[in-house]
Symmetry: C2
């Protein structure tokens, strides 16, 4: 998990000037409430899996304003910024996991109160909770090394 | 889009004994309500993108019972079955798009009323609505050929 923890911290500190305080890792095989807005990126290659970055709305909005250097962020701005942040985190972590020669899919952003995100049953994703200066976020990673390629 | 339409029809007809009636294709760049349960699979390779299969709950539950040969399906069964159906559809479509030598990420399933799913801004996803014998579903596909690989 370390490449993902380091990547999230580096992206928040360099792009958003916010340190991240890390909470306790947990295995998230059960149904879990997520934050207000989440972005999903698929990883495929020698290992395949998924990275989800989920943010409280206050975190997403403040991050968007800083990324865009704007006082105001509309919904499309927030969606694009959350996708881009997730892409940066997954891209950085991927570059430290070169042995799996993975490539990233495009980010997909999920919005909605009460949404929850579930992984494939063969994956035991790890959830890394963080606290930023605007509130909580989490990074969830589920990876399977040497997965049999899908049909 | 044809490989995805053909793949959805083939999977529903062979695995679930349900024909699919196709509705009108639409570009889904705007915010759109989705069905109750959705699975997301990332595609990466010479083209990258995302496939989302979104189902009414009645469709998801009936499909799960048939796939598992059971009278009853609990929530985890439904989640796994929706992920697996989406994997089958994306895998079949991928095999007809060999020129892009894409690989699939693992499916991620999103559950929740009122969730909505947004694509990256550079993608203009196409939504293909279908009607099965249990109700509506949709397949959304956003692909970019020869995308610059993420950092």
């Amino acid at each position: 998990m370390n490449p993902f923890i380091a990547a999230a911290r580096a992206v928040f500190s360099t792009m958003l000037q916010s340190d991240l305080e890390r909470g306790e890792l947990s295995l998230s095989d059960e149904f879990k409430p997520q934050h207000d807005i989440s972005a999903v990126i698929g990883l495929s290659g020698e290992a395949s899996g998924t990275v989800i970055v989920s943010l409280d709305r206050a975190v997403a909005e403040n991050a968007t304003k800083i990324l865009l250097c704007q006082d105001h962020a509309d919904e499309q701005d927030v969606i694009d910024a959350v996708g881009e942040l997730t892409n940066m985190i997954a891209g950085r972590a991927k570059s430290k996991l070169e042995e799996f020669s993975m490539s990233l899919s495009l980010p997909t952003v999920i919005v909605g109160r009460d949404h929850s995100i579930r992984f494939a049953k063969e994956v035991r994703p790890i959830c890394i909770p963080f606290t930023s200066k605007w509130g909580p976020l989490s990074v969830e990673v589920g990876l399977i090394a040497n997965a049999v390629p899908a049909s």
